[in-house]
């Protein structure tokens, strides 16, 4: 069986960036909409909320920066 594998890695950082973007949207929406809160509901725990948001946003920004830098 031919197992030749070649890859173009330009844009490989977008693979983790997209789930992170969804996590950021999830975190923000869960954080600002009352109802099912949990640890990321801003009014209950603002520090945890901002840590989650900042963490996801920073990682996403890093991934996008890497893609631009590799392009």
């Amino acid at each position: 069986m031919n197992t030749d594998v070649a890859a173009s890695v330009s844009g490989i950082w977008l693979i983790p960036a997209i789930p992170t973007a969804f996590l950021l949207i999830y975190c923000i929406a869960r954080g600002v909409i009352p109802g099912r809160g949990g640890p990321i509901y801003r009014a209950e725990d603002p520090i945890a909320f901002w840590i989650f948001c900042a963490g996801f946003a920073a990682f996403m920004a890093f991934c996008v920066f890497k893609v631009f830098a590799d392009a």
């Binding site: 031919n2 030749d4 070649a6 330009s10 977008l14 973007a21 999830y26």
Partner: protein
């Protein structure tokens, strides 16, 4: 595994405002297109076959849709194949056009979704169940099918559980009467 009717009825319960449904018909395809574009920048060649992460994701998601329902799943496979092709075409544009286009589609798509849910007055389905992220594209294709007069039985089953769609004015009137 929950059935097609279960999944669509649960998702539809969060989308009963006609304006929200109309906005989802635009927003969700934009988000799907953006993911196809962004996941088509990296390519892998295995045994002479070219793959992108978008194609691999489409294969997995398409299989899930086929397991839910063969007819609707087949329609989704066609949509996903078209999306993967579109994504590769845009991603292949000179830098940074493809990347900027992908990010712009993603942001615009989500803005449209948020506006839709502001009209709805209810949070998005995926906040309660992350599977809602997978059901969104299926909901769009099903709604287009309903508009074309297809799958009336499925539409009736969904409305029996989630209720009929409401016009914006109906919602405002009912809200002023204290029903919300």
């Amino acid at each position: 595994m929950r059935s097609l009717t279960d999944q669509l009825a649960n998702y539809a319960a969060y989308h009963r405002d006609r304006r929200n449904v109309a906005l989802h018909l635009v927003g969700i395809p934009l988000i799907v297109a953006s993911i196809d574009v962004l996941l088509s920048r990296a390519t892998f060649t295995v045994a002479g076959l070219h793959f992108t992460p978008a194609i691999l994701l489409s294969l997995i998601v398409g299989l899930y849709y086929l397991l839910l329902d063969l007819r609707l799943g087949f329609a989704m496979v066609l949509v996903l194949a078209g999306g993967a092709w579109f994504g590769r075409a845009i991603a292949a544009l000179p830098n940074p056009i493809g990347l900027v286009a992908g990010i712009a589609l993603f942001v615009i798509g989500w803005i449209i979704q948020v506006v839709g849910h502001l009209h709805e007055g209810r949070k998005p389905a995926f906040l309660d169940d992350l599977v809602g992220l997978l059901i969104g594209p299926l909901f769009v294709v099903a709604e287009i099918g309903f508009l074309l007069g297809l799958r009336r039985d499925l539409e009736a089953a969904i409305e029996a559980r989630a209720g009929a769609k409401k016009k914006g004015r109906d919602r405002v009137r009912r809200r002023s009467q204290g029903e919300y």
